[in-house]
Amino acid sequence: MPAAPVKARSRESVRSRTNRVAETLEGYARRGVFRGYGRDPAIRDGKCSFKLLWHYDREFELVFDARRNTLRFPLVLPNVPSDASMYRDLKRFIEERHSSELPEHRRIDRRKAVATPTNRRGNVSLTMRLRGGDDEYGARKLIHLVQEIFLVFLQDGSYYEYMVESFDLDPDRF
């Protein structure tokens, strides 16, 4: 069988990588981690978008960019000024998730993936840069990281009032 043209192989590779990420996310949806899950059927410029109904029943968008080797949540936390101590604490928290002092099962291995937050006008996004081609590892670690941001960082910090205000939560139901 003749080899597929380079362009076709590349498209196939993007699709199969995207499917692998999708299978990982679908697995979490089946396990009840997400209460809702949807995938944009189209892949445009190597990018595929996923919708996750997750913490506090909010919809999270996750974009996998196979060409740039990134997984990105364009909005994880709203209303966090870039000069606020909360943002500094968040950056430190994310950095600490890569620490070699953490047990392996809790650590993001820098050889495989690196997570960084970005703040644009108070909206914090989170990007996982994938290294070494293990897309499933990157997807899992990114989901773990967001879980820890919501269940550990926000709950252990002084962010109760922030959560009520920013996520429009009823304090009695929260």
Binding site: G32, P103, H144, L151, V152, G157
Partner: protein, 657 residues
């Protein structure tokens, strides 16, 4: 910040002094008609002789000392109420907490020999019955009159329902002859009112079926997952007379109308669970309410130690696994995120993923006595229908001995980090307290912790309960449970503010009598941390505690507001709905109800007040209220970081599931 007034009365140095001071102040006031005196009937200053003392009327001990006098089919026969009371006694109903109303039924239950407590409000008595049950696992009852008394219970019936308490809710309900006519007063339709907050309910309408429906009630209370059962008694049922048991339908003994048989797991399911546990690196038991209900704590500990598994106790009662055990994860929230397998056993109120601090890849086994709930909220890797005790005993037989050093070390490191985090907040709170001359909630909670667990008192001795928003969240972090039933999570799941003190008084009744797991601590004082907002719902039950000599120490965190006041901070014309008068004196109110009062606004005063109050409780069975003066701003992270934060779930301080 405003400083406390210099002339605010500081804690008195003795029980007598506290009472005498209050009497002098009361007598000096125009129109003073009531003066506090000891439950020990001491005589005070002659100048006050004309003002009667608070005292327990002779009729109360006399009635408590009377021999039971259950109804009999002989002579005048048994009333429907007496038939029902006889069944309650045979079912070992542990206690009745009520206010007068439903007279025929409560009198019959008391006469049958069921320990019966009368209090000041039906709602608080319902909470007391719930509290008694939460710390013993026993069925308790509450009762009130048809309309107002019954509806006053509603918040606490709902709390009991959320906590899966086997609570028998009783109320009278007019006469069948007057149904739908609004004859005289109090007409209401009770059963629709408790829809959604009971396991089973029935309006009894056929007098000859009173025993049959009593059996229905106890079958529901003592089988499967517990929950409130609500029976309402029209007069025709309660007052009907029976000379011949043959006139009663299904007049069987309890071994005929219900069974003690329990769901048993199949050997294959147990093997599969054991295999999953054995393959896991960091397994974690969630020991829910069912472990307490089934008194399965010994085998739980045996399994945990044999296989080095972490354990967190959950539910409305704490202590099935000791907080100070090296395998306890109650104080190791960061390690929860590392668990790769969780085994829910008897978790009656299931959280959803994201509510418990677990990682997204954790695998799940759930063991539950009824099939219908398996898979609800939380997707399963393995679901097993089984009684909790039976499952744990079966698992114990197949799990190999195993060492998990890395997991144990991770638990210890997480515990160290958690404790340091709280100590840091305490240090900050101490600074705030010194700066403001008011007590920060972290300081209050830490002082109680040190007093109960680091001093001369056996750390296992004192039963505690806590509630309120700011006070409850901070207290939850510092109160401990080292033995089954040592702590009540008063706000469990339903989140009611206010039943705390009544609930702890009910629990105190169980300790006073040494019921079930409270037996080794019979007669010990109990302690409640509540809030000024919460106190309004239960404070009058100090009278009940005094009447029955149940020694409770109540700390009322007084921040002059509802804890949710920050919700009004950014809203115009709203704050008036959230604030109280400042510097209200709950200690003085307590004195007026026959308890001791202490007013504190420094850590040193609190320490001394705790000591005096504990002595009065232990030696004289006298209750105390410690008014812990605070500031509302301590709740807000904007004013005094960290403000309040929700506690990690599961673990100490958890109250949602």
């Amino acid at each position: 910040m405003k400083r406390r007034s210099k002339d605010a009365r500081i804690a008195s140095s003795s029980v007598d002094n506290a009472r005498r001071n209050f009497m002098l102040k009361s007598a000096a006031g125009a129109g003073a008609v009531v003066v506090a005196a000891g439950a020990n009937h001491r005589v005070f200053a002659s100048a006050l002789a004309e003002i009667p003392s608070i005292r327990i009327p002779k009729e109360i001990p006399d009635a408590l000392n009377e021999a039971p006098k259950p109804g009999s089919f002989e002579g005048n026969g048994m009333t429907g109420a007496e038939v029902f009371a006889k069944l309650c006694k045979e079912e070992e109903l542990a206690a009745l907490f009520c206010c007068p109303g439903n007279y025929t039924v409560i009198n019959a239950i008391g006469a049958a020999g069921v320990p019966s407590y009368g209090g000041r409000t039906e709602g608080a008595m319902c909470a007391a019955a719930d509290g008694f049950s939460r710390v013993t696992g026993e069925v308790t009852a509450t009762s009130g009159t048809e309309g107002p008394g019954f509806t006053h219970m509603i918040m606490n019936i709902a709390s009991a329902n959320a906590a899966r308490t086997p609570l028998l809710v009783l109320a009278s309900n007019m006469q069948l002859a007057g149904d739908d006519r609004e004859q005289f007063i109090q007409t209401s339709y009770q059963q629709p009112t408790t829809t959604g907050m009971k396991k089973y309910g029935k309006r009894l309408i056929a007098p000859n079926r009173v025993h049959e429906y009593g059996a229905y009630a106890f079958r529901q209370l003592k089988s499967g997952i517990p929950g409130p059962v609500h029976l309402d008694f029209p007069a025709e049922v309660a007052r009907a007379r029976f000379n011949d048991p043959a006139k009663l339908t299904d007049y069987h003994s309890k071994n005929k109308y219900r069974s003690e048989s329990r769901a048993f797991p199949s050997p294959k399911e147990v093997e599969r669970a054991a295999d999953m546990i054995n393959k896991a690196e960091r397994p974690l038991f969630i020991a829910g309410q069912g472990v307490f209900q089934r008194k399965a704590w010994d085998v739980l500990k045996e399994i945990a130690e044999k296989h080095e598994m972490a354990v967190v106790g959950t539910g409305p009662t704490r202590g099935v696994f000791p907080d100070d055990h090296r395998l306890s994860a109650s104080l190791s929230p960061d390690a929860l995120m590392s668990a790769d397998l969780v085994i829910f056993v008897g978790q009656y109120c299931m959280p959803s993923p994201g509510e418990f601090r677990f990682n997204p890849d954790v695998k799940t086994i759930r063991v539950h006595p009824v099939q219908e709930d398996l898979g609800r909220n939380w997707p399963l890797d393995l679901g097993i229908v089984s009684d909790e005790l039976v499952f744990l005993e079966a698992l114990s037989g197949v799990l190999p001995r195993k060492k998990r050093d890395a997991w144990v070390n991770e638990l210890a490191a997480a515990r160290g980090a958690f404790e340091k985090q709280h100590l840091d907040v305490y240090e900050l709170g101490l600074k705030y307290s010194r700066d403001t001359n008011a007590i920060h909630p972290a300081v209050m909670a830490k002082e109680v912790h040190d007093f109960l667990y680091k001093g001369d008192i056996d750390p296992k001795q004192t039963l505690t309960g806590s509630g309120g928003w700011t006070s409850g969240l901070y207290a939850g972090r510092w109160l401990r449970a080292f033995r089954p039933g040592q702590s009540v999570v008063c706000a469990y799941q339903y989140g009611a503010i206010g039943p705390d003190l009544a609930m702890v008084i009910g629990a105190g009744a169980a300790v006073q009598r040494g019921v079930g797991p409270q037996a080794p601590w019979k007669g010990a004082p109990v302690l409640c941390i509540t809030s000024d907002a919460g106190a309004a719902y239960s404070l009058f039950e100090l009278d009940t505690a005094a009447k029955f000599k149940i020694p409770v120490i109540a700390l009322i965190y007084n921040n002059n507001s509802w804890g949710m006041w920050p919700s009004a901070a950014t809203s115009a014309r709203s704050m008036q709905m959230y604030l109280f008068q400042e510097n209200l004196r709950y200690d003085v109110m307590a004195e007026g109800l026959g308890a001791r009062g202490e007013y504190v606004h420094t850590p040193e005063q609190l320490r001394a007040a705790l000591k005096r109050s504990y002595q009065a409780a232990a030696k004289e069975s006298i209750s105390s209220v410690i008014n812990v003066q605070a500031l509302k701003e301590f709740t807000s992270a904007k004013h005094y970081p960290p403000g309040v934060a929700l506690n990690p779930e599961p673990g100490v301080g958890a109250f949602a599931h």
